[in-house]
Each structure stands twice: as C-alpha cells, then as structure tokens.
C-alpha cells in the first residue's frame, strides 16, 4: 500500500513538473515572439524616424523657409545691425518717472501694423 502511494506521489510530482515545464516553455515562446514583434516594431519606428528626419530637413531648407517667411510673415524682416543695442544704451530707470518715459517707446502696432486687422478678420 505504501509502495503504491509512493509511486502515485512520484508520478503526480513528475506529471506536475512536466506540466509546469511545458507551461513555462510555451510562455517563453510567447514572450520571445512578443519580443521579436516589439524589436521589429522598434526597428520600423527607427526607420520611420530616420525618414522623417530627412523630410524635416528637406522641409526646413533655407530656400523654402525664406520664401514661406516672405509670403506669410510680410511684416518680419531679417535682423539688421541697427537693431542691436547694448545695455549701456538703454535709458536708466527714473525714481520719479516723467510722463514721457512712462509711455512705451514704441507701441506694438508699429511693429505689427496688421495685427489688429487680422484679429478682427478672424472674429467675424
């Protein structure tokens, strides 16, 4: 009787081990397949990024940007040397400001004459 029980225990243990091994094997296979898919997807993404980088560079050609800027930002112009000012040249802040200094030196409208009109156009 003890002998039978002994054998039964061993057989069930062996069966359990086999089942566990199969389970793990299949799981590993699945994980490997998943890893493979992910790696493939990563490579694909990398390739796409690479192509998009080339396209980005192509779309940012200086010639194209120049013509786009001329067309779409007519109020903007390349920086001129006269637009650079040193801090030493800026007026000092006055303790009791005179009305002349209080007013902005230049209104925004001077630089963007079309800004207001554009805004109205959009709201209509």
């Amino acid at each position: 009787m003890i002998r039978v029980a002994f054998i039964a225990v061993w057989v069930s243990l062996a069966a359990g081990a086999v089942a566990a091994m199969f389970h793990i094997t299949f799981e590993v296979e699945q994980l490997e397949a998943r890893l493979h898919d992910l790696n493939r997807a990563i490579v694909h993404e990398q390739e796409t990024t690479h192509v998009l980088q080339a396209e980005w560079s192509y779309l940012n050609r200086p010639q194209r940007l120049e013509s786009l800027s001329r067309e779409l930002l007519p109020s903007h112009a390349p920086v001129e040397s006269g637009q650079f000012v040193t801090f030493a040249r800026l007026p000092k802040r006055d303790a009791n400001p005179s009305p002349a200094v209080d007013a902005p030196l230049a209104s925004q409208a001077r630089f963007f004459p079309d800004a207001r009109r554009d805004g109205e156009g959009r709201s209509q």
Binding site: H36, N39, I42, V43, S57, R61, P62, Q63, S81, F84
Partner: protein
C-alpha cells in the same frame, strides 16, 4: 550492455549442456580439473575483450552524456531562437549621415527597393516586359524583353524605386521578379551643398566631394560626419551670389566664408551648381567647383600680400613713397595703372588706389626669392590640403624672373584657387597666423604657423579698411560691421593674350576689421556691366556689393555684435600718416 556482460559471464562458466555434450564428444584435450586448458583460455580472452569493449563504449556514452549536459545546461544557446531576429539597437545604414556644424542634416541614406529579375524563372519575357514597362515608363520595353529572355540568373531591372513604383510592381504579381532592399543617398538640401558634398554612384560609393574623400570613413562610422559649414551662411552666400550672377549675366560665380581664427570653411558656393539626384542633367561645367578646383589670376587682391611682405620685412613703411608717374616698361611688357595718379605714391596710397606700377616696384624691392618664400608660406604655391578630392594646383611660373616678381606683385602671372586666396588673406588679418582651411568641424583649433607679425597684420587691417572707406571697395561696407577688403579685377587669359572684355571680378573682405571673425570672398566670372554700374564690371562694382550683402546677413547670424558708433579705438589707429615720407628711389 549489462545483458551482454551477464551473457559473457554465463558463457565463461561451464554450462551444464556443455558438460553434457562433452561426454558425447571426444575427450577434452584439456580436462576441467583445474588445469588451464585451451577452452578456458579462449573464454578468458573473450571476457577480457568484452570488458575492454564495454569500457570503451561506456566511456563513449559518458562523453555523449556529458556533452549533452554541457550543451543543454552549461552553454548559452548559440543559434538564435528566431531566424534573423531584429535587434532594436542595430539600425545601421551602410553610410553615415553628414550634418552641418549645427547638426542640420545634409546627406543621409534611406531604405529603397531595387527591382531585379531571375530570367530563368520568367515564363513569358515579352508579356512581363510589357507589363513592367506600363508601370515603369522610363524603361524600354524591347530592351527589357531582351534582358528577361537571357539565360542569366540575375539581371537588374531598375534601381532605387519610389514607394509608389514599388507598390505598382508588387501588385502586378509577376513570377521571377523580385526586390532587393538597398539604400539610396538623399540630399535634403538639394543643390545648396552640391559642390561640397559631391556625389555617390548607384552603389552608394562616393565619387566626388566629401562623399569621395571620406568614403571609407562614412562606411565605417556610426555617428554623423560633422562639417564646418553653417547652412544658414551657405544659404546667404549662395543666394547673394546667384542674384549677382543673374544681375551681371556672369557665366559663373564663386564665394567662400572662412573663419579667420580657426580656418573653418563656414560656407562654400560655386555657381552654376548641380542637382545631386540628377548630376548629369546639367552641363559638365556645373560640376566644376570654382572655389577649390578652379584657379584664377585674381589680380589686385595680391597687393595685400605684396604690401605684407614689404611691411613685414621692414623693406618699406606705410609712408614711404614710390614713383608711379608713368607706366613701367619692362622688356616688352608695359605695366599701367587703371586710374593713374601720375605722381609719387606712398605705400598706403598704392594700396588704396590699387596702383600696379607701385606694387610692381614694391615687389621688386622685396625681391623674387623672398616673394616666392612668402607666397609658399601662406600656401599659395601648393594645392590646398582641404578635405576635397577636387583641388586645383596653382599655376606658378617655373622660373621666377624679375618680370614674374613684378606681375605677381599685382596678381598677374600666378593663378590660385579662391580657397587658397581666402586662407592667405585670413592669415594676413588674423594677427599673422596661417591655418590650413578645413571643411570638418573639429573640437580643437588646428595648429597654425606665424607668417607675419602682429604689427604688420594690424597695419594691413587698416589698409583694408581704407579701401572700403575711401577706395574702390566702398560698396562692401555694412553699417556696424566695419568691413575691410580689397577688390580684384583681372582679365581672363585666352588664346593669344588677355581678353579685355572677359573679367574675373572679385572682392575679398574681412569683418569686423579690428579683429576679424570671418573672411568673405566673392568672385564673378565674366560679369557684364549694367546701367546701374555705369557699364563697369570691376570687382568694386560687381563683387564688393555681394560681400556687403553677405556680411549684412551673416553678421547677425554669427552673433557678432555690431559697433553702434564709430569704432573709436580703431578710428584712432586708422589715422594713417599722410605726411609725405622720404621718396624712395626705386630704380626699376
């Protein structure tokens, strides 16, 4: 095996049957009475042999068993589980990218498909050819049919298909036709960098420019190759040159922006240029790099060097005067001045008025030997060592006669590339150190060699500013950036002497002139004067304005702070003593 051994043992014991049989047989010659007879001997031998065989076999099985354990448990799997499993970190193209100094992509490799056929598997060549020609109209149907009917196992049909063509061919579903995944080189900036980058052939092998010079390197390296070029400056330079070429209907134009302190080429432009995707679509002249490969007699700009030699060697001071009253006749040559002053001129005036006579006298005073050594020291007598395969060798007289010394003094009788010229001028204005120009961005500055003293360099900068402020180069000036420079106008030599109407007009400038950051060179090949220039096509009229426009654009780009007012320190230094010095009695 154990069974066998048992059997052997059984055989070794005298079996009852054998004993029975023994009775029937003739008497055993060796009786089993303890004496070792021949039968027993045979059994012993058999037993020994069996033992040895068993030992060998068990050893072999043990080895196999151990090896099995070793392979399955001890070693990592050598063979990949999945055939050619992609590895995430191994996206590698056969050729590295090329980027500019700020990382803007200039050349890259993109995956592309090429179409090939195995003619042995093609069933109906004529039909296949017709259907392929329908989706790929650039192919000739007859040629394709002949190709497909051949006995070979592999023929290319078309390299580098577009995605749309790729899809169209797939949907035809033709047998014997297949794709090979390849790479194709892409130049996102198009023509803008064509002369610097060069070309690759259909197998992505570099055949011109940087692509050729760094062919092996580009195949090996993983990270992009970083050039010294700044795309924004390149665009500014090429744009202004193209506009000038149009305006003055010149056959060609060339320009260069060189970092005066490091020797880095910031922009290099040669017009006409070509489309790197279709290089053969334009005339062969468009593939000629005028900046590095072309050599030209650049004329008066050489007076910078002549003056430098004279000042540096202590041969002349700025105030010393030379006779420019009448044209100089040397054997059968006549050296004249363009706007002759017909008087004695100081060295400053010779430079300012660009007097050929004065420069020739100055050069003679310096002497041919010194002149040659000096020009050699600033790299004008050897081909430039820039990283391009297309480098022109300068045209230098074989025998340095006095007449050569004189003409070279004002830039004739010697032809150098614009690149050499700019590098030479950079060494004159940067404090006197010559640095080999380079197209590659380096972390450290290349070592230079001192060619003139700091003091001479300072004097030359004054003279260059004088030309812009007061002389022929006024159109190159930009408020705030203090450009200094020298015009150059030379007649092109043709069959039977110089051609009066065909000019090479150039301007070489440096800014800001008190401590130059960049040297800018522009040159127009055979410009024609316009109404605006009163018909003039000289360097001061056609090339100097281009430098001005380029400086206006690249100055703010480079973050150079413009001087708001006059440059007081430099202004003070600029004062040149116009008081007449002692006339020098040059005897030539």
């Amino acid at each position: 095996m154990i069974e066998r051994m048992k059997r052997a043992r059984r055989l070794a014991q005298p079996a009852p049957a054998a004993q029975r049989g023994a009775r029937r047989r003739p008497p055993n010659p060796c009786p089993a009475d303890g004496n070792i007879g021949p039968a027993r001997e045979a059994i012993e031998t058999g037993r020994k042999r069996l033992t040895i065989a068993a030992a060998i076999l068990s050893l072999a099985f043990a080895v196999v068993g151990l090896r099995l354990v070793d392979i399955t448990l001890m070693q990592a799997a050598v063979e990949p589980r999945a055939a050619r499993a992609p590895q995430a970190e191994t996206l590698q193209f056969a050729r590295a990218d090329i980027v500019d100094r700020n990382g803007v992509l200039l050349a890259t490799s993109l995956p592309a498909f090429s179409l090939y056929a195995n003619p042995r598997q093609v069933i109906e060549p004529a039909l296949v050819a017709r259907r392929l020609a329908e989706v790929l109209p650039s192919l000739s149907q007859e040629k394709l049919a002949a190709k497909l009917a051949s006995k070979r196992a592999f023929v290319w049909i078309k390299r580098d298909l577009s995605p749309r063509q790729h899809h169209a061919v797939i949907s035809l579903g033709l047998p014997g036709i297949d794709f090979r995944r390849e790479e194709s080189r892409v130049y996102p900036q198009g023509r803008l960098m064509s002369h610097v980058l060069g070309l690759v052939d259909v197998d992505e092998k570099g055949i011109a420019g940087i692509e050729q010079r760094f062919d092996d390197d580009l195949r090996r390296r993983a990270e992009p190759l970083r050039l010294s070029i700044d795309m924004r400056m390149q665009h500014a330079l090429c744009g202004e040159l193209a506009a000038a070429q149009d305006e003055f209907t010149a056959v060609g134009a060339a320009g260069l922006v060189l970092d005066a302190r490091t020797g880095e080429v910031m922009a290099m432009c040669s017009l006409p240029d070509f489309d790197p995707k279709a290089p053969m679509a334009t005339a062969s002249v468009s593939r000629f790099n005028r900046v590095a490969l072309g050599v030209y007699e650049l004329g008066s700009a050489f007076k910078i060097f002549t003056t430098a030699m004279a000042l540096n060697g202590g041969i002349a001071r700025l105030e010393d005067r030379y006779d420019a009253t009448k044209p100089l006749k040397v054997s059968r040559f006549m050296i004249r001045d363009h706007n002759a002053k017909k008087r004695w001129l100081s060295v400053s005036e010779i430079f300012k008025y660009s007097s050929n006579i004065g420069s020739a006298r100055l050069a003679m005073e310096v002497g041919g030997k010194t002149q040659r050594a000096f020009l050699d020291s600033i790299g004008l007598l050897q081909p430039s060592a820039i990283e391009l395969p297309e480098v022109g060798a300068p045209l230098v007289p074989d025998v340095w006669r006095p007449i050569n010394t004189m003409t070279i003094g004002f830039g004739h009788g010697i032809a150098v590339s614009p690149l050499q010229m700019a590098a030479g001028v950079a060494s004159m204005v940067n404090g006197g150190v010559y640095r080999q120009p380079t197209l590659i961005k380096r972390n450290e500055v290349l070592p230079g060699r001192r060619v003139i003293s700091e003091r001479t360099s300072k004097k030359l900068r004054k003279l260059l500013r004088l030309v812009v402020e007061d002389g022929t180069g006024g159109r190159a000036d930009v408020p705030g950036y203090f450009v200094g420079g020298k015009t150059g106008t030379a007649e092109k030599s043709g069959p039977g002497g110089y051609r009066r109407r065909a000019l090479i007009s150039s301007f070489i400038g440096a800014f800001p002139v008190d401590d130059p950051r960049y040297v800018v060179f522009t040159m127009l090949d055979e410009p024609k004067g316009t109404e605006k220039t009163h018909g003039f096509a000289t360097g001061g009229w056609v090339a100097a304005p281009v430098v001005g426009k380029v400086v206006r654009r690249i100055g703010p780009l480079a973050g150079i702070r413009p001087y708001e007012d006059e440059l007081p320190s430099f202004r003070r230094d600029l004062v040149i003593n116009w008081a007449p010095g002692k006339p020098t009695l040059a005897s030539y």
